[in-house]
Amino acid sequence: MLLLHCPFCGPRSEIEFSYGGPAALPRPDDPAQISDADWVDWLTVPENRIGPVPERWCHSKGCGAWLTVRRDIRTHEILEVRHGA
């Protein structure tokens, strides 16, 4: 049960949040313009290093904000939480 510091609500228990998956790079403005391989990479390959990775969380039971979180997936240490992408 992580303690996530929502920039708006403050420190809150993980059970108030919905996990939104690994944070990919920004969605290409026009996916038609990029190659198949790049699209597949963008869609299917997450950052997965042993260390901090970016991920998305929504404070769904709280303020409703979508957040980008950098969490060390070896220790659960949270290095950054910010609104939006």
Partner: protein, 962 residues
């Protein structure tokens, strides 16, 4: 009074007598006793028989470390594998000893004793292979396990509280109390938890002084001061059993003192954790070290001092460190004859004790209980026998680093105390006192105060002075010799087993653990694991830290599942949702189904004497021929408004909405970025930039998250507000050719198709209630979805039922709805949209094809379709035998052969209006195979079915549009 009870002393109340039974024998004890002290006071030596070798075992410890004795409780508190040292004695306890080998008929136990050489560590792996493990398993299984599983749920409840504090202090010994006092005086929010019956830690068992008086007086003052302070929560019989991430510590409170509450769990979120968990005394492993009468020295001290119990008449002490010398003196003071103090260290002196320095105990004698020990010089030399019925063993002390380790803190070996101690912390915390390897009492008090001061940024307060005793140790892990020497008593693991494991290549500490099962029993090796490390280090010529420790994991001591689940068990396991009509449905005898998103919905409303099929046919026929009504309350609804509302909807859905005129709606699909169908629904335009989007019940919350994610993550510049109205507008839907007539009686809205066409949305009054009426249809019939405020839904429902009474308006459930949608070929999530299909597969590519520009999922759909792989497409299926049931999920295989499938039946229903069964299927290249016959393959037969277009009723949609 019980035979071995001392006349005075100890922290028991001799004026009150508690009666209990042990294996049917009546016994007595006193408040303040544990079951263990009471058993010892009653002269009980053998408490259980061991798991593998069936050896008699008695009580060895005095607390959570107890390595040998387990009992079962009968009666209302029935539970197995109870540690008697942790159980406060209560009136009427019914205690049974546990026999590890329950079968009298085939007592492997006795066999095991005789043939113990045949069953060294890992013997299972080498045998029982022929002809098959299965032949042996039942017998082995029967022999396994200790207590029987409970028969029934206990009476009473469990609850879990969430708590928050600045400092959590675990352990109320001197270090923990001092830490708690320091923090409390600084007005911090403090929680102090201790697993023992009362505060004091090892002071309870010792005759030492603090501040010039008995240490327990100091404890009493500390406890009283803490109790006065509103910023302190102090719990006893409360074990911190698990330390999770981000300062979350789980506490199990075993005596919550609340009627009907069995145990209470606490989720404590602490700013800082002080581990004042003390140290655990360990064994020295020598042949016969398991004989009843052999005890940890500290335990024996506790029994005489704390509980006024003399566990025997004549004692030998066996130690490698100073702490047991104090025990020797306390035993003597309690009237136990002190036969000898065997200290393995050369040159140790203690003039007042019968000390044999440089000696070790080589083995013990006795049948059921201890009768004597054999001693000899450590380096070898003549052995001598000493008669005794008690042997107090101290192999040194191991800081209780369990919690620190669970928090990811690391350990370092310290030669000075011959133990692992906490090294850097991983979470905001500190270990103090004996838990930090500081075994002096003054040190314990000081370190408790210092750690808190450091965290709170205070000056270190003065701490009281205390009796000091030195602590010197020379490690002695084991004394090899003939006979079984146990490193793990509960799992019957011996020194030879460890040596064998090492010899066979299982010398890594984790391999040794798993090969021998040492440390895997209920006590998780609290006393013995360090010995194993020491022994392996000796065998391998390594230092203990090169061998390393096994991983400490939760729980610190076993915790009941009831207290872990707390209030979540029961309905809390899965919250349920009601619509304003749930009560009505139940009263009408509806069979309720789980309908996604935790809603329960009517499946069908059986009437007396009807079969399932008759009910469903009747309900479906009502829609096709008359008028029916259903509860559509759970349908997801979102208001989407703002200048970019249209952009959002077109980005999220497959269809186009720009051409939609206000008051009209359009059906569309929502895809994932993988190009797979995620949801479907109708979106209405209310005005230029205001829309109402409906989505499926099960996905209502997910769709909201999805839309917000688009807005907040991908398109923060779009000006749109999305508001969840699922619970603000709820609908009752009436459908069937007579629906218009019925609705017309309740409203002056113009219901003519010209004024209110299919896919239109109109606002007005229905039955006098403000309503939004939508002409959508999931049944293929004329249909009005009448949305009102939920507070009005019951009135609406009643009004509709009354208005439709002449037409026998029929409430219908999801089964009839399923039949009707199959007849129309409307997709259903979970059936046709099984997570693998795209809109083209379902024949809904038209909506996408007409769209310009990008939207979610498009890129992936196009990429996937370019692979040229054949796709499974939605088709209708008509079994050649009109009555044949093609089970939903049944595969279609080429020619009906038992081989990989080419499709599957996604739905099959009895169509009352067609008088036959019809189905839908996903079939490879299905649309090119219309009119062909395929084979639905069942285990025992095939069903031939004709492929048709996936619509069986009113293909032009005239009925729902009319």
């Amino acid at each position: 009074m019980a035979p071995e009870r001392l006349a005075e002393g100890g922290r028991i109340d001799r004026r009150r007598v508690l009666r209990f039974r042990f294996d049917g024998r009546e016994m007595t004890g006193h408040p303040g006793d544990t079951l263990a002290s009471a058993l010892l006071a009653n002269g009980v030596r053998i408490v259980t028989r061991s798991f593998k070798y069936h050896r008699p075992r008695g009580i060895m410890g005095s607390g959570a470390e107890e390595p040998a004795a387990l009992v079962a409780l009968a009666g209302s508190a029935a539970q197995g594998n109870v540690v008697p040292t942790m159980l406060p004695l209560t009136e009427g306890l019914d205690v049974r000893s546990i026999h590890g080998w329950p079968s009298v008929r085939f007592d492997l136990g006795a066999v095991a004793g005789l043939f113990s050489r045949l069953i060294p560590a890992g013997f299972y792996y080498k045998t029982f292979m022929w002809p098959d493990w299965h032949l042996f398993e039942p017998t082995i299984r029967k022999a396994a396990g200790l207590a029987p599983a409970p028969e029934a749920a206990p009476e009473g409840r469990y609850e879990t509280r969430n708590a928050h504090c600045d400092l959590l202090v675990v352990g109320a010994g001197p270090a923990g109390l001092m830490a708690a006092l320091t923090a409390a005086r600084a007005n911090a929010r403090v929680m102090l938890v201790d697993e023992g019956i009362e505060a004091g830690g090892n002071l309870l068992a010792r005759k030492v002084e603090i501040d010039g008086g008995p240490a327990m007086d100091w404890v009493a003052r500390a406890v009283a001061e803490l109790a006065q302070r509103p910023n302190v929560t102090h719990l006893q019989q409360a074990t911190a059993w698990g330390w999770r991430e981000h300062g979350l510590v789980m506490v199990q409170q075993r005596a919550p003192g609340h009627p009907g509450l069995i145990e209470r769990g606490w989720r404590v979120r602490a700013g800082h954790v002080i581990c004042a968990t003390g140290a655990i005394e360990r064994m020295i492993v020598f042949p016969g070290n398991d004989r009843p009468g052999v005890m940890l020295a500290s335990a024996m001290q506790a029994y005489v001092n704390r509980w006024g119990v003399r566990p025997g008449q004549r004692a030998v002490i066996f130690t490698n460190n100073d702490s047991a010398h104090e025990v020797a003196r306390d035993l003597r003071a309690a009237g136990v004859e002190l036969a000898a103090v065997i200290d393995s260290r050369e040159g140790v002196e203690a003039a007042d004790l019968p000390l044999r320095a440089g000696y070790q105990v080589q083995r013990s004698f006795g049948h059921a209980g201890l009768r004597g020990v054999e001693i000899a010089p450590v380096g070898g030399g003549p052995a001598a026998r000493i008669n005794c019925d008690l042997l107090a063993v101290s192999g040194g002390w191991t800081p209780a680093v369990h919690l620190h380790s669970q928090s990811r803190g690391s350990l370092r070996w310290d030669d000075a105390i011959a133990a692992f101690r906490p090294d850097p912390v991983a979470q905001s915390s500190a270990s103090v006192g004996a838990a930090d390897g500081r075994f002096g009492m003054t040190q314990a008090l000081q370190s408790g105060a210092e750690a808190v001061a450091a965290y709170l940024g205070l000056a270190v307060p003065d701490t009281p002075r205390a009796t000091e005793q030195p602590y010197n140790i020379a490690p002695l892990w084991s004394v090899p010799g003939k006979g079984k020497a146990f490193v793990d008593l509960m799992n019957d693991v011996t020194l030879d087993d460890i040596a064998l494991a090492d010899r066979e290549g299982y010398g890594a500490v984790e391999h040794a653990k798993r090969y021998t099962t040492s440390g895997m029993a209920l006590d998780q090796g609290k006393t013995g694991n360090v010995n194993v490390i020491g022994i392996l280090a000796g065998l391998q010529g390594k230092t203990p830290d090169q061998v390393g420790v096994t991983t400490f994991r939760a729980p610190y001591t076993p915790v009941s599942f009831g207290s872990i689940a707390g209030g979540k068990a029961g309905p809390g396991v899965l919250p349920f949702r009601h619509t304003p009509l749930t009560g009505w449905h139940m009263a009408k005898g509806a069979v309720m189904y789980e309908a996604g998103a935790r809603w329960r919905r009517p499946g069908y409303y059986p009437r007396a004497g009807e079969s399932f099929q008759q009910t469903v046919d009747r309900e479906a026929r009502a829609v096709r021929e008359g008028v029916a009504i259903y509860d559509g309350a759970p349908l997801g609804v979102y208001a989407i408004e703002g200048p970019d509302a249209l952009r959002l909807i077109e980005h999220a859905c497959t269809a186009r909405y720009g051409t939609l005129t206000p008051g009209m709606g359009r059906y569309g699909l929502m895809l994932t970025e993988d190009g797979l169908i995620f949801d479907d629904g109708v979106t209405f335009r209310l005005s230029e930039d205001r829309f109402l989007m409906s989505c499926s019940t099960g996905n209502a919350d997910a769709v909201g998250l999805h839309l917000e994610k688009i807005l907040q993550i991908d398109r923060p510049d779009w000006r749109v507000h999305v508001t969840n109205l699922t619970h603000q507008w709820m609908n009752a839907t009436i459908c069937g050719p007579l629906a218009r007539d019925v609705l017309g009686r309740l409203t002056d809205m113009d219901l003519s198709t010209a004024a209110f066409p299919f896919m239109g949305l109109r606002e007005g009054l229905v039955a006098g209630l403000p309503a939004r009426v939508a002409r959508v249809s999931f049944t293929g019939e004329l249909s009005y979805e009448i949305n009102v405020l939920p507070r009005d839904l019951q009135s609406l429902w009643t009004a509709l039922l009354q208005a439709g009474a002449p037409e026998q308006i029929t409430p219908i459930g999801s089964e009839a709805n399923h039949v009707l949608r199959v007849e129309k070929g409307f997709l259903s999530l979970g059936h046709e949209a099984d997570g693998t299909v795209d809109p083209y597969d379902l024949g809904m590519g038209w909506a996408m094809a007409r769209k310009k520009g990008d939207f979610i999922g498009l890129r992936s759909v196009l990429l996937r379709r370019r692979s040229g792989q054949p796709r499974r497409e939605l088709v209708g299926l008509i079994p050649e035998d009109p009555g044949a049931d093609m089970p939903e999920g049944a595969p279609i295989t080429p020619g009906g052969k038992r081989m990989a499938s080419e499709g599957l039946v996604t739905a099959c229903v009895h169509s009352a209006s067609l008088g036959r069964r019809v189905g839908l299927a996903l079939l490879v290249d299905g649309r090119t195979r219309i009119d062909k016959v395929v084979q639905v393959r069942l285990p025992d037969r095939c069903i031939a079915a004709r492929v048709v277009a996936p619509v069986f009723h009113d293909p032009e949609g005239l009925r729902m549009r009319g």
